[in-house]
């Protein structure tokens, strides 16, 4: 196995058609640049933001409801203004971005793992197990993902009571997202697995007596990763939106630990009193992030799909 991992991966990548296609696509470059920028900002949030918006001790009520810096009443150092608690909007956006991304990535990881595992088993084992898994997937597809997330969330809240600490809430949202998005992975992986297992290299592996799990992990899985990667990218945007929606509806993260969705929900209240900046900047950040990731995902899908070329 060790020999399969190439030391010259980078060299191979730079010579590949994928890289050439990337260099040709302006939208892909913009998508990647914005995504990387937002990832970087989110990662660096604790070091670059003015205050920790989750720490009430750092907030001063005297600074409340300040507009952005470029307005006449704007005050340094609050670049994007503050909310009614005196919380710096830029800091809140950076921390919210961080939370949204963490939840999105974890959600994609959970749904991906679940979907890939079920898809591999369904495709490789086949028969009744395949039918069972795919029927469950079909039924689940008839419900919108957000509905499933709401149901999972509701059931868990009912089971554990309302008093969940923020960490447990994050876990709960991640699991809800994971359970709502696995179907697409499972379907894609299953069909790729069925194609790959028909190929002779899998037969050749069976001939030397390798067991099915070994063949799946060593031979089949690495050859079905392309489409999975595309789905994961596009689903990252979906997962972030889903988390924002849950938080906006009030079943997501609490106001004490705001994600972008929570910020939009709380900021919504100030729209009528004229403090537009409290909701506008989290909204812009969310839209920018989702669009950038989608651009990247669309390009990746086209680049990896030989039929579209």
């Amino acid at each position: 196995m060790s020999e399969a991992i190439a030391p010259s991966r980078l060299g191979r990548f730079l010579g590949s058609d994928l890289w050439a296609s990337f260099k040709r696509s302006k939208t892909a470059m913009i998508g990647l640049a914005v995504t990387l920028l937002l990832f970087g900002l989110a990662f660096a949030a604790p070091w670059i933001s003015l205050q920790n918006p989750y720490d009430p001790a750092q907030l001063e009520l005297i600074n409340s409801n300040l507009p952005p810096l470029w307005s006449p009443e704007g005050q340094a150092p609050f670049l994007l203004g503050t909310d009614d608690q005196g919380r710096d909007v830029l800091s809140a956006v950076l921390y919210g971005l961080r939370l949204s991304l963490i939840i999105g990535i974890l959600g994609v990881a959970v749904s991906g793992t679940l979907g890939i595992a079920l898809g591999l088993v369904a495709g490789y084992v086949g028969g009744a197990l395949d039918t069972l898994i795919m029927r469950v997937a079909d039924v689940q597809l008839t419900f919108p993902a957000i509905l499933i997330a709401l149901v999972v969330d509701g059931v868990a809240k009912a089971a554990f009571g309302g008093g969940l600490d923020p960490k447990a809430t994050i876990l709960l949202i991640v699991v809800s997202i994971g359970l709502s998005f696995w179907v697409q992975y499972a379907r894609t992986v299953r069909s790729s697995v069925m194609v790959e297992t028909g190929k002779d290299y899998v037969q050749a592996a069976r001939l030397i007596g390798l067991s099915s799990p070994v063949i799946m992990v060593r031979h089949v899985l690495p050859n079905v990763t392309g489409p999975v990667f595309v789905i994961a990218t596009i689903n990252l945007a979906l997962a972030i939106i889903t988390e924002a929606t849950l938080s906006f509806l009030g079943t997501g993260l609490p106001e004490t630990m705001p994600s972008l969705g929570t910020l939009i929900r709380t900021g919504n209240r100030f729209l009528f009193s004229g403090e537009w900046w409290v909701v506008a900047f989290p909204g812009l950040a969310l839209a920018g992030l989702v669009i950038a990731i989608n651009l990247l995902g669309d390009w990746l899908r086209d680049a990896l799909n030989p039929k579209l070329q």
Partner: protein, 330 residues
């Protein structure tokens, strides 16, 4: 093991595939279950060190036989034994596991028969590691280099990926991998039909050289009669899942006895016979799901009579044909 026992013995091998429509359609349309007899009672033996070829057109069942012989596909009936060990009997599982290293297969499409994400060295080394034949990375690397040299490649080629090679070179790699576990019996399923003629000649010559050097036994599957003529010491001709004629290569090609073999030989466009007059061939292969009764070749056979339409001919003295049996074929 006595010298008289054949190395590979296949007796009354059968395989049918379920080709019924899904359950719901069957219930609604009141259709019965349907099965396709891909292989229907095939028997042959291969002596150690010889090349036995199965030749036939598409749908003749030759590839299905190959997959059953190596154990990739369980037979519906019949027996395959290699070096006295049954490939079918569940009680011989342990012996079969040891045997498995000695049987390998070369596939038709060298583009599909190796994992595209692995380096060639890892592909060739995989059987060595799987069977635990050699200990130590350096020793394995040396053996892989030796194998690549054996098939006419360079040891350094192991560092490349399959897509960096041409079709013929990939088929060489496939052969190196097949030999890696010290295989003595190779089943080659159309090993050159995806290759160009000049490359085909290289691979066929390589296979013959390796046979001479290592004493390999081949089961060679092909639709190309000229290739079979060139490679095989003995030949079996298949038509719709049955063996219609079996015998030495020279006899079959010089003096074919089954009307199908004759028709096939006459139909092949061949370089040696420009502008010759030929007997027009009639008809095409019938649907294998619903084959004609009696001898399956009877609708296309110029010698068919009432008995041929009723009774399946048995393989007698190397040919399964009522006309040959009754002496009507001359």
């Amino acid at each position: 093991m006595s010298a008289n026992t054949p190395y590979v013995q296949v007796s009354d091998l059968r395989r049918s595939f379920d080709v019924s429509k899904p359950w719901l359609d069957r219930v609604i349309e009141r259709l019965p279950r349907q099965s396709l007899k891909a292989v229907d009672g095939v028997s042959f033996a291969i002596a150690r060190g010889e090349t036995f070829a199965l030749v036939g057109e598409s749908g003749s069942g030759k590839s299905t036989v190959a997959r059953m012989v190596v154990g990739l596909l369980p037979p519906s009936g019949g027996e395959v034994s290699i070096d006295g060990i049954s490939m079918v009997d569940p009680r011989q599982e342990a012996a079969r596991r040891r045997l498995r290293a000695r049987i390998q297969m070369v596939f038709q499409d060298p583009y599909a028969s190796m994992n595209p994400r692995w380096r060639v060295a890892a592909i060739v080394a995989e059987p060595i590691r799987a069977f635990g034949l050699i200990e130590g990375e350096a020793a394995i690397r040396a053996r892989v280099g030796e194998l690549l040299g054996l098939v006419g490649l360079h040891a350094d080629d192991g560092r490349k990926y399959p897509h960096e090679f041409s079709g013929g070179q990939r088929q060489r790699i496939a052969i190196a991998r097949a030999l890696a576990s010290q295989a003595e019996f190779l089943v080659a399923d159309e090993p050159t039909s995806a290759l160009d003629v000049s490359v085909q000649a290289q691979i066929l010559n390589l296979m013959r050289d390796l046979q001479d050097r290592l004493g390999l036994t081949y089961l060679f599957i092909s639709h190309n009669l000229a290739v079979v003529r060139h490679m095989a010491s003995r030949v079996g001709v298949m038509y719709l899942g049955r063996l219609v004629e079996i015998g030495g290569g020279r006899e079959i090609f010089v003096n074919p006895r089954h009307p199908y073999t004759r028709m096939l030989l006459d139909a092949v466009p061949d370089l040696g016979r420009i502008g010759r007059a030929r007997i027009p061939v009639s008809g095409e292969i019938p649907n294998p799901i619903d084959p004609p009764p009696g001898c399956t070749f009877n609708p296309r056979c110029p010698l068919a009579n009432e008995r041929c339409r009723r009774e399946v001919p048995r393989l007698l003295d190397g040919v399964a044909c009522h006309a040959a049996e009754e002496g009507r074929d001359r």
